[in-house]
Amino acid sequence: MGRTVLICDDAIFMRTMIGDILKQAGFEVVGEAETGLQAVKKYRELQPDFVTMDIVMPDMGGIDAVREIVESDPAAKVLMCSAMGQQALVIEAIQAGARDFVVKPFQPSRVLEAVQRVLG
């Protein structure tokens, strides 16, 4: 069975896109979250192998969500999804405990490489 992933993004479009890339590579999308609060809650329920996390989301942003997730599970593997020009935010997310990042628009090869590093 493939590794499990929780996808967190407030845009359905982005969730679908990254979901397709991961599914095609054999990962199992076990859940999706539209807000930071949902992300934290679903992570605890689902205990996925890794998480993709958008930075800007309503009801707790991605960075705070990472912080909460990593606090409750220091082994949590979170991959940040960012737009160009958000480097300062991504650095903050990494300091909060995220393991790696990908930049939109997503290129499947880059996403999968980053996932490998996160799971590595």
Partner: protein, 622 residues
């Protein structure tokens, strides 16, 4: 009681133990064999571990545990404590300190995984040899958010060791103009191949270069407090060559400053005058800062001396109380490195020949415990390093006897010499009053080597001694190699600078007392023939006819003395040495140039060349 009720006690006690650890580590740094210090570190670490575990502060407990593992073989005497290990323990102690504070504050728990890994690696290695590496990482030009990738690479590097001197600085990585190349220093026990591999795996990295670090200089901001974090300060490593270039350019800028002042003078334009004055002041301040960059506290070299003195005393059966003062005074790094060996020699000499055995001291009515002092003081724009003991002192008669026996002086001369002159004989090549060969001081390599080294550094060595009371050696050094004390002399109407370190005295000689000797001339100075050379002939200028008196400056290099005949003296001054541009075909006799206080330039005479040219002029030398 709830856990929080204990946290105040935990915090107070842990703080005490942390300071015990720090003090003991400092003691170990000065004296790695100090078993009492090792025992107190071990005990304090162990106590913290127990308390932290009881409080469920896992991070702190694990860190303390790792420290304990590393300390165990050292405490049992199976291993010596190396400097690397000490530095690692200092870092770990900082980690414990932080961990204790945040834990008691219910803050984020301590993540000490990186330092724990290093402690474990060092413990596993037995010896914790860390390498200093210069790492350069180049990222793929197409990498999105390269700054973040660089940040990830840094994070990875920190897992491998201690990262310093990050360029561009870490807080600039979030900026848009990051160019995709990051470099830093890495102190790591991990092999360069593995470091490369791990950094390449960070992603978007196209090239990693890992090279052994070149010569380095630690530039420290000294804190006033006693904690190791403050003590070690924040620092970057800079290639010494770069600093030298900077110092050199600064020297040029100072020349420009002086010229600017001269050219502008009192101007009709007050704005211009003010701007020049301001620029001049800034340049002066900047020069001082640049000079300061090369400065490190004397303690960096002195720290190894207590151990050395103790070992020497032990080997010779002497009881010595070694006192070091002025470790905090800053000196030029190169100067300090160079003066280290001569000081070792002086200290060993003092223990070997100066301080008597406890029995001898007892018989002489002195305390059995001898005192040896190493003191540094600022003096003017230079520094004095004083090595003094309360031992038997130097016997004037013994020195004279040995000097006469070796033919250095005649018995008739011996009687007129002042104490200072007698003691100066000790710095003549091969001179020693000691017939014994010991493991500690050896034989033959004597004060002449020390005196020469000091002189090469632009300094001077003074010896004073009282029989039965002790001996003091005073090494006077410029604060930095770029500034020199010079005697200004005039020859054929031109002023030259002569490093004062080589000048033993000045003399006015009656022309009638000058005699021909071989192809040259000599005159008698206190009964000894000194070769006399006219500076004019060395410079290739025409010498004027002699008057009734001749002005000469006596130069001393090793055990040789020569006198240079000049027109007159114009004074003494501190000069900034500016190296020569060797593309110009100049006389070898000059070592550099300088700008004098009145703004005029002057050439600096090189004493070594003067001596060899004098020898080339086929002077007889006694």
């Amino acid at each position: 009681m709830k856990r929080t009720d204990y946290s105040d006690i935990f915090l107070t006690e842990s703080r005490e133990h942390v300071s015990v650890i720090n003090e003991a580590l400092l003691a170990l740094e000065a004296e790695p064999d100090n078993s009492t210090a090792i025992a107190s570190v071990f005990r304090a670490v162990h106590t913290i571990k127990g308390m932290a575990a009881a409080m469920r502060y896992t991070g702190v407990a694990e860190l303390a545990h790792a420290m304990e593992q590393l300390l165990d073989p050292i405490r049992s005497g199976d291993q010596k404590i190396e400097d690397d290990t000490l530095q690692l323990l200092f870092s770990a102690t900082d980690g414990v300190e932080r961990g204790v504070e945040v834990a008691a504050d219910d803050g984020e728990p301590l993540d000490a995984s990186a330092i724990i890994r290093r402690l474990n690696a060092a413990a596993a290695l037995g010896a914790s040899a860390t390498d200093s590496l210069n790492v350069v990482i180049r990222l793929d030009a197409a990498a999105p958010l390269p700054g973040v990738r660089a940040f990830l690479a840094l994070r990875e590097a920190r897992e491998l060791g201690t990262v310093m001197g990050v360029h561009p600085s870490e807080d600039r990585l979030g900026d848009d103009d990051f160019q995709g190349t990051i470099s830093f220093w890495l102190d790591s026990t991990v092999s360069p191949e593995i470091i490369r591999e791990r950094l390449l795996a960070v992603g978007d990295v196209i090239d990693v270069s890992v090279e052994a670090a070149g010569p380095e200089v630690g530039v420290e901001e000294m804190g006033t407090g006693g904690s190791p974090a403050l003590r070690r300060g924040r620092f970057i490593r800079v290639d010494l060559n770069r600093l030298d270039r900077l110092v050199n350019q600064m020297g040029e800028l100072v020349l420009v400053r002086d010229r600017l002042r001269r050219e502008v003078g009192p101007s009709a334009n007050p704005g211009l005058e003010e701007a020049v004055a301001l620029a001049a002041r800034l340049i002066s301040e900047m020069r001082n800062e640049v000079m300061r960059v090369r400065m490190v506290p004397a303690g960096q070299v002195f720290d190894r001396f207590p151990r050395l003195v103790r070992d020497a005393a032990r080997a010779l059966g002497k009881a010595v109380d070694f006192i070091v003062q002025g470790s905090e005074i800053e000196l030029d790094r190169t100067l300090l490195d160079e003066i280290g060996d001569p000081l070792v020699h002086l200290l060993r000499n003092a223990v070997d020949h100066g301080i008597e055995t406890p029995a001898e001291r007892n018989a002489a009515g002195k305390p059995e415990l001898g005192t040896l002092r190493l003191e540094v003081e600022r003096e003017g724009s230079g520094a004095v390093i004083r090595v003094s003991d309360d031992g038997r002192g130097i016997s004037r008669d013994g020195v004279l006897e040995a000097a006469v026996a070796r033919g250095l002086i005649s018995p008739s001369t011996a009687a007129h010499l002042s104490d200072e002159e007698v003691f100066r004989l000790l710095t003549r090549a091969g001179f020693t009053t000691s017939a014994r060969v010991t493991d500690v001081s050896g034989r033959g390599v004597g004060l002449d080597v020390v005196a020469n080294r000091v002189r090469l550094l632009g300094g001077s060595l003074d010896i004073s001694s009282q029989p039965g009371r002790g001996t003091a050696f005073e090494v006077r050094l410029p604060l930095t190699l770029a500034i020199l004390r010079a005697m200004l002399i005039r020859c054929d109407g031109v002023v030259y600078a002569l490093p004062l370190a080589y000048v033993s005295e000045t003399a006015e000689v009656s022309a009638a007392d000058i005699r021909a000797a071989g192809a040259g001339e000599v005159f008698l100075l206190r009964g000894e023939p000194i070769p006399l050379i006219r500076l004019h002939s060395l410079l290739g200028v025409e010498a004027p006819p002699r008057g009734t008196n001749v002005v000469a400056v006596v130069l001393e290099l090793g055990d040789q003395c020569i006198a240079l005949e000049i027109d007159d003296f114009t004074g003494q001054q501190e000069i900034v040495v500016k190296e020569f541009d060797s593309t110009v075909d100049t006389l070898r006799i000059f070592s550099g140039a300088t700008i004098l206080a009145d703004g005029s330039p002057a050439l600096i005479l090189d004493a070594d060349s003067v001596f060899s040219m004098a020898a080339g002029a086929a002077f007889p030398h006694s």
